[in-house]
Structure formats: C-alpha cells, structure tokens
Symmetry: none
Amino acid sequence: MVKKPTPDASRRSEKSRRAIYEAALALVAENGYPRTTIEGIAARAGVGKQTIYRWWTSKADVLLDAFLDLAEQGARQSGEEPGEAAEVHGGIPDTGDLAADLKAVLRATVDGLLDPKFEAPSRALAAEGLVNEQLSRELVARLLEPQLQLYVHRLRSAQESGAVRPDIDPRIALELFVSPVAQRWLQHTGPLTYAYTDTLVDYALYGLAPR
Amino acid sequence: MVKKPTPDASRRSEKSRRAIYEAALALVAENGYPRTTIEGIAARAGVGKQTIYRWWTSKADVLLDAFLDLAEQGARQSGEEPGEAAEVHGGIPDTGDLAADLKAVLRATVDGLLDPKFEAPSRALAAEGLVNEQLSRELVARLLEPQLQLYVHRLRSAQESGAVRPDIDPRIALELFVSPVAQRWLQHTGPLTYAYTDTLVDYALYGLAPR
Amino acid sequence: MVKKPTPDASRRSEKSRRAIYEAALALVAENGYPRTTIEGIAARAGVGKQTIYRWWTSKADVLLDAFLDLAEQGARQSGEEPGEAAEVHGGIPDTGDLAADLKAVLRATVDGLLDPKFEAPSRALAAEGLVNEQLSRELVARLLEPQLQLYVHRLRSAQESGAVRPDIDPRIALELFVSPVAQRWLQHTGPLTYAYTDTLVDYALYGLAPR
Amino acid sequence: MVKKPTPDASRRSEKSRRAIYEAALALVAENGYPRTTIEGIAARAGVGKQTIYRWWTSKADVLLDAFLDLAEQGARQSGEEPGEAAEVHGGIPDTGDLAADLKAVLRATVDGLLDPKFEAPSRALAAEGLVNEQLSRELVARLLEPQLQLYVHRLRSAQESGAVRPDIDPRIALELFVSPVAQRWLQHTGPLTYAYTDTLVDYALYGLAPR
DNA sequence: TACTAAGCGAGACGGTACGTCATGTCTTGAT
DNA sequence: ATCAAGACATGACGTACCGTCTCGCTTAGTA
C-alpha cells in the first residue's frame, strides 16, 4: 500500500475504492492472478485506469489493499458475532491445555487457508511476495506477523504455567507447527488435514527423541 | 517440462537447448523473473522464438528445465569431486549423532538457498508454482521430494538405532526443521542463520515440553 | 480508408496522423511496397503500432489515405499558385482546339505518372487494387473517376462546338487515349513519351479508317 | 521462370512439378494470391519446400510458370479441337470485315478475362508485375506481347486491303481498343460487356471527329 | 452564487511482449 | 542423389496491457 506522493486523499471517491477492491478480488478469484489486469479491474469496477494508478503503484499493491480490506471485514464480523473463526482473527484460546488449544487453532487455520474466497488472492500475494521483497515485507508485517504474535503470547503463557520449558524462544518454537502447514499450503508438498496438524502439535511439543 | 505434441525430438538442436538454458538463468539472475521475457531469452541465446515455443509451453516451463539441468550438473560435479555440497545433493551423513548430522545438512541447505546463482531462479519457480499448481507438482516431484526422502532415510536409520521414537512418521517429522527454513526463505519471515537452524533441530528433536 | 468501428475520432492525434502519412510514403518510395511494413511505418513515424491499427485496417488502407492526402496537398498548392500542374488537378483547358488541349493534358499526365514521388505509392495502390476489389473501388471512386470526369466535361463541350460527333459517349471515348497510357504505365507494355500520347490523340480523334 | 543456377534439370521430378502447378493454381483460386504461401503450396502438392526453392525464386515465379503451363494446355487443346477459343490462342480471323473480326476477338478476350479459372492467377500476376518490374517484363514478353502481335498482323493486312490508313502504326493503333478493355479489367473502372467492346471498335475505327 | 481546482470516467497515445505464421536455409532418412 | 519432412534463425503479424497523457464532467470547498 505504497502511496503516490501528491493526490488529495480527502477528495477520494469511496465508491470507486470499494468497487476496485471488489473487482480485483473477483477477477483474481475467477481468472487467477496473472490473467488479472489493471485494465480489467478498471473496466469491471467502472472506473478509469488513472483512478487506479493515482492511488496504487501496481497490481499487487491493489490486491494487497483489497485483501487487507477483506480481512478487516472478516475481523469486524467475527467481532460482532463471535463464532468459529474467533481464533483466527481474535486470538488463541487459553483453556490451560496447550496441545488442545494449538490443535484447535491450527484446524481453524487450515479451514481458512482452504476457503476458496481467500485462497486465490492470498496465493497471488504470496507469489508476488516471493519475487518482490518489498511487498513481502509489507505482507509479513501487516498480515502474517500479527497472527504469529498470538502464538507467541500463548506460548509465553504456557511457559509461565510450566507447560513449556522456560529456555525456549517462542518466536522460533511456533514455527515448528506453523511453518509445516504454511509450506504444505504454499508448495503442495502434502495434504492439509486435521490429523496432520494434530500430529504436528504432538511432535513439536514432545519432541522426536524418546523421553 | 510439459512437451508440445508433435515435434521430432531426435532432430532437436542440442546447442540451442543449452544456449536457452544459459540465457534463461542469466536473465532471471540479472533482471528478475518478471522482467525476463521469452523474446529476451531467445535473443540472448541467439535462437528464434519459435524454437522456444516448439519445445516449451511457457517461460516457467523453460526455467524449470533450465533449473533442473543446473541441478543435475551440480549433482554430477559433486559426484565427481566430493566436497562441501555433498550433503545437499548426495545424501545425508550418518555419523551416529543425529542432531549433528541434521544441523550440518541444514547449514548446507541455508548456504544453497542463499547462493545467488540459485536464489533468483528458485524463487521464481517457487513463485510461479504458488499460482500454477501443475508446475508446482512438477517442481515438488522432481526437485523437492527427492531431497526430502533423504531426510526420511536418515530418520528411519535413527529409529533403528533408537535415537528417534519408533512411532514417529519420518515424512512428517522432517517438516519440523525443514519447513521453518523453507518459510523463512520463501516469505522473509525471519533471518536464516546457522544459530537458527541449530536451534530448530534441538527443539524438534527434544520437544518444547519439559522432560 | 475503411474505419474500424468505435474509436473516438475527435480525440485523434493530428500529429501522429501526419507522421504516419509521411512515413508510409517515404518507406514505400525507399523500399517498395512489399518491403514496407506496418511496424516499419510505426517506428519511422514514432508511433505505436496500435495507433495505426486503431484507425486503419491494413497497409493498403494507410497508403490510400496517405496518397489521397498527398493529392489534396498537391491540389491545394496548384490552386494557390497556378502553374504547370494546373491541368492535372484543376481541370482541362478549353482553348477551342480539342486535339491540342488533350495532348497538353496527356503530356502532363505522363509527367505525373513518372514523377518518382508519386510513382511508387500509386503503383503500390494499383497493385493492391488488382487483388483487393474493395480497395480498387475506393481508389477508382476517389482518385480516378474524378479525373476522368474532367475529360467527360471537355468532350461534351467539344460536342457542343461540333468538334466531336453528338452520338459519341464521352465516358467511353475518353478511354481511347487514357487507357493506352494507363496500360503502358501499369504493365510496361511500351514507352511513355510525348510523341506517343500525341499520336494516340490523333488516332483517336480522326479514326483509323481512311476518310 | 527465372532458374536458380546449379541444379541438374535432367533429374527433376516431373510429377512434383505438375503437382506444384496444380497446387499453386488451386490455392490462388481458393484463397487469393496474398494468402497463398509457399509452404501451403508445398504441403498441398505433397512436396518438400526445398523442391520449390530449388527450381523457383519466388511465389510469383512459381505462379508464372504454372500459368504459362495452363495457357499452353489451353492452346494445345484448342489446336486439337478448334472451337470458340480459337481466336484467343490461335490468331485473329480475317474475313475481310475488319470491324467484325475485331469485335469477335474482343468478345472472346472478355470471355477469357472473366473465366474464373484464369481470373485469380492472372490478376495475381498482373498485380505482382505492377510492383516487380522484372516479372512484368517476363509476363509481357511471354504472354501479352505475342497476343498483341496477332492484332498487329491483322491490322497490317487491313492496311494492305485499304481498310486502314497506311500511315497508321499498328502497334499503337491496337491499343485504342485493347487497352480500354485491359484497364476496365485491371482497375474495375467500368463493366466489361460485349456492347462496350463493340463500341470501342466502332469509335476507334471511325474516329470521334465528324467526318 | 459563482469560481476554481481537484477527482473522476473515458480512452488515445508510445511502447513492449505476446504467441503465431511464413520466409528461405539447412540437415536427416528413405526411396 | 533427390526427395519429403521439418527444425532452424529471422522477422512481421495483429493483439493485449502497460503506464502516461489529455479530454469533458461532476463535485466540493473558496471567494
């Protein structure tokens, strides 16, 4: 969401902005990211190309904002009517049973990753990020890291309650179960099932070596 | 490496093929994947565009073959003059000390991932794979999975020697230390250092919970 | 000058149009029609290819407009500074001596046909017209027929003054001296000299048969 | 029919040559000259491209030979079974009535020009000739001029019998009725009817001026 | 209330690359 | 040794988008 220097944001057309987000997400979902074009987004949104170029620097930039907007809407909804998605957006439950809590959250994460509404744009952003480090940093800072910090909190709480060794670095530890899920999703290196994520938590918490 | 239907492969020009691989890799390294064009590859290779379109279906397809060729060359070399890269291409050492062996391999992997000669094309392929599932499957089957199977072998050997619990699934276990490295590399979620990979191995082998 | 359906002609760039005409005429004159390409015209005119494809349907179509424009300029000039080309563009003199008048006009026509500035593009258009009837009709209607009507007028005036029999159809009669010139020019069936055109007029006016 | 220097004509495949002629004429008739390609001719004739390039220099060159071959066949046939086309290929009748003879021949010429089997290739050749002077000379020398010489003979005979003034140049005179037909055919400047050609002969023979 | 300056839809523009087609040359196998 | 087959380097084709640049037209906020 890098902004161009001059334009006067206060005069900005809210209607166009929303139309652009919707068009961008719809086109990516329908045709895939590479076949989505700025001209196509403008046409679908009923908007001049310049209106896009005025506020964003690239296709990825538009999509990033569109996706953040989508995520925000999701968060707002799950705030209003707290339900199954609560863990994803709202935090990680702390029932005292660390393994159970982590399994629950990972299951919800898997559901989110496979939700078709999110999958196309998030893959697209991730792909762009691979090759465009600046976008990647933006993505990580605004979407990924906030999620990961929730795990950090939960693990610290577990350390306090003695369920996790105190010398463990939570920021690294969380990757033991989060990264495998991420990689399977990103690279199709294996199926994403509940059984799989449960196993990950078990292995990570108790280790591979005989106790 | 999806082949177009008809052309007669026996008449194929070996010289052109090699020139195309070199041009593709060089251009991706110099300008990045998105700014590498098929026209550019053809021009740099001194080859007609049609010669590319005859044998490959897309830019990604060319780059995949080029990269596989590069990997093969690497493998052939490390077979001939066994050296530092031996673990990456040739297998995982089995000194009896599982932790030490895994740490050594992961360090070598990090070196490989950060080698500028490999980084640009592999990021490019990974990015394309994110969005193009067919390519992704190809990549995983021909590059990634063979690597991962080496870990499977080593872990099985550790199970036999009692260093790893017999009920552990090695194919899943290996992701505990491989996937975090992959994700940090793919998504820039954190630095890739030896200290980090060593820690990963320690956490994974002995778990997070107090023993 | 067949127009593509939609584009908004009021926004059209006059500068580009003129540059395209000049480039087209220059390239045809320099390299000949078949070796003139749309890409070449665009490059020479400093114009995007699309700007040509937006307003014309084919190379021949461009050249037709360019040529008409050239003819118009010629006409405008000869209107302003009436000189030798007056007969070609501006009408046929009527001195009362039909034979002399026709001979003068035919001589001027020959000069025009052999003018290198006109020859290449008009041959090119004529050639294209041979094989592309639609273009041919356009050519005849917009360039040739207006010229021929001048002869019709002059011959009618001659009929009024009694120099030509009243039962003669002027539209056919004019072909007796115009078509031979055209054919010699088109097909190189013989030299185009003043002596030749004078002879044609004599033969045509007084007939071949003994009187 | 410009020949490439070296190849040994005695080894030439007659079958291929004929197949190429047929393919060339058929394709020009079906798709028009510009959309006829050498590759297409080769494919249709079941012949390698090289076999064409070995014996001819260009598409026009092939077509010229094909057309001459066609004309020869026609001539041979009309020699064997003398019929309506006799005048076109075999000469001009000399019944003593010059006007009648010329009208008959011109009518036959019109029939020939409008015969669909001949029209496409001859237009194509004429078009190519417009822009390719070398081909044009070939065409005129081998096809057109021999035809015109028949008129020269007939007009000379008429001069001997006193039907045409002795000071007339027959080579020029013939153009008075032949060229208008040629131009109408070449440039679509008017309809080609028997009435028209008859009128041409009348005008040309008796002149336009009152007697 | 009118003026003015922005954002806006529209889309022409100079470009780049696309993927296809045909050119004319060259090589290979078979007949 | 000639032919068919067709791979090759070349280069133009016509199309799709790029990102920039006018155009008139709302549409505020200021005069």
